[in-house]
Symmetry: C2
């Protein structure tokens, strides 16, 4: 279709990288016609060229000299992950005039501003759709499609592992540990699941999404983060009884003159579009002034789906490069500040284990009232006697809207009551 070609360097040949290499090889003709110039894969940088490789790709393409590869490329696709050497290599590519596609969420959530500024200074394009929600096109709609609107809130299920675990707990009544073991057995969770179940992975994506949605610069350090380890089968059952489901949500919302960004388990009504996101799927729900409510749904991880997002960026950016158009610089200019979680107003469910004594419920209700928190519902469930012989009761309270700060003070006082054993759960509720 065209005689011209341009040089592409691929860094990394893991789950996503090997899929990208396959598409670049197998679809060369189709890509050339869509871009208007032929992409020539000049090399794949790996740590060890003797390791087993995809046989569909020419073995001579593998190299350990990433720097030489980068310096020879027009477009660099970085799929190695981690902060270094990815950061140094991307900066080298950008300053050398190469456009860069990356799916490196950890790096972007930490050094996104530095990378974007380096791209702007060099007048080249940096694209990273694959860094958030795998194959789901969410960054481009936030940046371009909603560019003339005002986004007020983004709610996302941005981690497939935790959604799989919570969905399994919801549908089978399993405890967290059993659902995690099942996720590990099926390959949805890693042997060390910390980054997923503690919410760090979702927090990185939340920082990237908030930066684009609110035209500001946020890092993962701006994100308040709670995981799902403490969620019990009791919490899930209680949510079900009230018509809710528990999801690990990333929430990015306008908060006065700032933006509050947080990741935490959340009760959402079963009728909410996010409630029906099952298994390891991801979804991002966007609320804006004019568009109203939008939702984007799809596979949030996996080699081929993430490669699809990488290739979408690659074709779009290469096409622009071939046409000779200027890079589109960063639009972060509002520079809204991240706000503290203590300001956030929300409804909560609180679970308490208390001694089964007359008046304990009234005493607890009084502490909430003293702190100015209005209670919406209060349920008491009596348990069979303990081995110690003393009867025990679970109290579950749903509050009206209050601040995190106020709730914290309330629960500190309640925990100190002699009739209260412990606070078993605190989960936010979104409508």
């Amino acid at each position: 279709m065209t005689d011209r070609s341009f040089k592409v360097a691929l860094l990394g040949a893991g789950t996503v990288g090997s899929q990208v290499a396959r598409i670049l090889t197998e679809d060369a003709e189709e890509l050339a016609s869509r871009i208007g110039s032929r992409p020539e894969l000049i090399g794949i940088a790996v740590r060890d060229t003797t390791a087993a490789r995809d046989t569909t790709v020419d073995a001579a393409l593998y190299t350990t000299d990433a720097e030489a590869l980068i310096d020879a490329a027009d477009v660099v696709i970085e799929l190695t992950g981690g902060i270094e050497p990815a950061r140094t290599r991307i900066l080298r590519a950008l300053s050398g005039g190469a456009a860069v596609v990356t799916g490196n969420k950890a790096l972007l959530a930490k050094h996104g501003t530095e990378l974007q500024r380096a791209a702007d200074a060099a007048g080249v394009q940096l694209s990273y759709e694959a860094a958030v929600a795998g194959a789901i096109p969410i960054l481009r709609p936030l940046r371009d499609s909603l560019a003339g609107d005002r986004i007020t809130r983004v709610l996302g299920i941005m981690n497939g592992t935790t959604n799989f675990i919570l969905d399994a707990m919801d549908s089978t009544g399993a405890q967290f540990d059993d659902a995690l073991a099942e996720a590990q057995r099926l390959g949805y969770a890693e042997a060390d699941p910390t980054a997923d179940v503690e919410g760090h992975d979702a927090a990185a994506k939340a920082a990237i999404v908030a930066s684009l949605a609110f035209h500001s610069e946020f890092t993962i350090d701006d994100v308040h983060c709670e995981g799902i380890r403490e969620i019990s089968a009791d919490d899930v059952a209680a949510a079900q009884a009230d018509g809710y489901v528990i999801k690990l949500l990333a929430v990015c919302e306008l908060d006065g003159e700032g933006v509050n960004i947080r990741v935490h388990p959340t009760l959402i009504p079963r009728k909410h579009p996010l409630a029906s996101v099952r298994d390891a799927y991801n979804a991002v729900f966007v609320e804006s002034r004019d568009a109203g409510e939008l939702m984007f749904y799809g596979p949030g991880a996996g080699g081929a789906p993430t490669a699809s997002a990488v290739m979408g960026d690659f074709v779009t950016l290469s096409r622009r490069k071939v046409l000779g158009g200027p890079a589109i610089p960063d639009q972060s200019h509002r520079n809204l500040e991240a706000t503290s979680l203590s300001r956030v107003v929300s409804r909560y469910t609180v679970g308490l284990h208390v001694k089964d004594k007359l008046g304990v419920l009234a005493r607890i209700a009084q502490v909430f009232a003293d702190h100015g928190i209005s209670i919406q519902t209060m349920h008491q469930t009596k348990h069979p006697e303990h081995e110690a012989g003393e009867p025990e009761t679970t109290i579950r309270i749903v509050t009206h809207r209050t601040t995190d700060e106020r709730l914290e003070g309330t629960l500190a006082e309640i925990s100190a009551l002699p009739t209260v054993d412990r606070v078993t759960s605190i989960i936010r509720v979104e409508n």
Copy 2:
């Protein structure tokens, strides 16, 4: 923020146009900073400047001289609808070097290729996200985000009026006429609902979506179109009993070396993500080789949501114009042909009214077998005796996969049987 400005002409001041005028006026500062140059609204072309106008917009902006306005503009936003004079005006704008944003689906579905070629020839941008599914960003993801993937099928609920009617029938058991009257009362359906209920509106959108998804040129004449007028409360109840819901789907799918594009009522399983699209919402479900299954959901119509899509196009295209980048030409190059409906393989539900005589079911089953169509299920429901005194039965058949052509031949033979009163419904089933 910037001293430079560029001139914007708005054609039309209806539901969407008035919202666009509001945003251009109220958000001038914010838009200037996002675009990098100040958009100056130089006029709003209307048929009659004396009609009641939005008081937030300077009355002096209204004019009946659309041509003079177009000739003075850098960007033209066309929101008048209909084929003429919209087509002539857009061609005038493009050939004069102005970029154009339009939400005119009827025009694009008929003359999209002509307009795109005129834009490419002039080296200017033509954008039309608002033409499909209102505020839902679907065209940009299809064109850019999935540019390195291979889309195999698109299923869309692309008309809010019919989704409202079908959802009402599903949740209340109402007949079509009552649900339509309710939709009209609530403003979801027009006094003359033909374009919506006959599927013409969805068919126009399907032609636009298929063109982008398959990088080819299709018009509304390539779309097979059936509406929802014939859907009865009985059909809805029978679907419910089998775990299905009836939706008016636009289906665009690869069919050998071509693309089949059609709009028709369809049974989809209740667990399918499209099944939970309620009220007047729209959703587009995309299947592709690498990304797998994606869904985009949101308001499919309305002044503000559609204006959000218009403004997204406007900011993106103006930004590129300000940066001095070239327009992105059309990527339609595969030129796949539209295929005939008779080739399409699908499952069907067929409803029949028959005389309640022994052996009628066996006779009908034999005709299906003679035509090589395998029956999955066959239900028989006996009715109270007719006034005429003759007992009657409803038979509902779900077939395995077969072609439209083969089913047509089968039903022609069955209709001619003396024991068969009539075929009451034929609805396709998607999984």
